[in-house]
């Protein structure tokens, strides 16, 4: 007979996630997104900028 894996029973019964946690997490994520969105308005894609700066236009 195959033995049951005791690791599967560790921490059982599962604990309930506190209800208020979701709101807290999602609000933190919204703030984080706002900050990164604002930051992206003031930063450039430096790699692309430098590449275009050094690019030599072909003579037509």
């Amino acid at each position: 007979m195959e033995r049951e894996n005791p690791f599967k029973k560790i921490g059982i019964p599962n604990k309930e996630v506190p209800k208020e946690l979701k709101e807290k997490v999602m609000s933190e994520i919204a703030s984080l997104k706002l900050v990164t969105d604002i930051a992206s308005l003031f930063t450039s894609n430096y790699q692309a900028t430098m590449a275009s700066f050094f690019k030599v236009k072909k003579k037509s």
Binding site: R3, E4, N5, P6, F7, K8, K9, I10, G11, N14, K15, E16, V17, P18, L21, K22, K24, V25, M26, E28, I29, A30, L32, K33, T36
Partner: protein
């Protein structure tokens, strides 16, 4: 069909792909709903209180939002997420220098030479759950992570190679050490 139904039909991997492209917080909420229970309980396994578990879970989801693009689909998303969570849990525990787990582990490290006993899975599966629960609380958090990934989350050796970024023999060696240690601690508990 409602938006919610559409979201629920997406696989984790499809959802992640969309979140990475659009940085959409509503889509991320779906990931939270799918995994909050699992992540919270995994965090609880590494800390002592509900408050710490809450803080750690929040930290996992915040870091997840910023690091989602580093998921490269080499393993199942759930497996990658569990490994990501354990990493943060290990960092959290290691930051706490006063923690009893570290003290106990340091003592055990002194006996490294005696711990290279081959442990087969049958003797692992003979362990009593209540005693194993105590032993797993005392083991080094890094070893705890690899044992939980392998025996609780059913992560294969191949996936462990990818997640830990080490070769097959190194994975097997780490597992062997972790199994020896858990048996050693288990046997030392009266």
């Amino acid at each position: 069909m409602k938006n919610n139904d559409l979201l629920q039909k997406l696989t984790d991997e499809e959802l992640v792909e969309k979140i990475v492209v659009h940085k959409n917080t509503i889509l991320f909420e779906e990931i939270y709903d799918r995994y909050a229970q699992k992540i919270y309980n995994k965090c609880f396994g590494f800390v002592k209180s509900k408050e710490e578990a809450k803080d750690l879970t929040q930290d996992v989801f915040l870091k997840l939002f910023t690091k989602l693009s580093s998921y490269k689909k080499q393993a199942k998303f759930s497996t990658w997420l569990y490994s990501f969570t354990y990493n943060l849990c290990v960092n959290f525990v290691n930051r706490n220098k006063e923690n009893k787990i570290n003290k106990y582990s340091d003592v055990l490290k002194d006996h490294d030479i005696h711990l290279h006993i081959e442990v087969n899975e049958d003797s692992l599966f003979q362990m009593r759950v209540d005693k194993l629960q105590k032993a797993i609380e005392l083991i080094d958090p890094n070893e705890k992570s690899i044992l939980l990934l392998k025996y609780q989350d059913d992560v294969s050796i191949k996936e462990l190679q990818i997640l830990l970024n080490i070769n097959e023999s190194a994975v097997k060696m780490r597992l062997k050490r972790a199994k020896s240690r858990i048996i050693e601690i288990y046997n030392s508990i009266s």
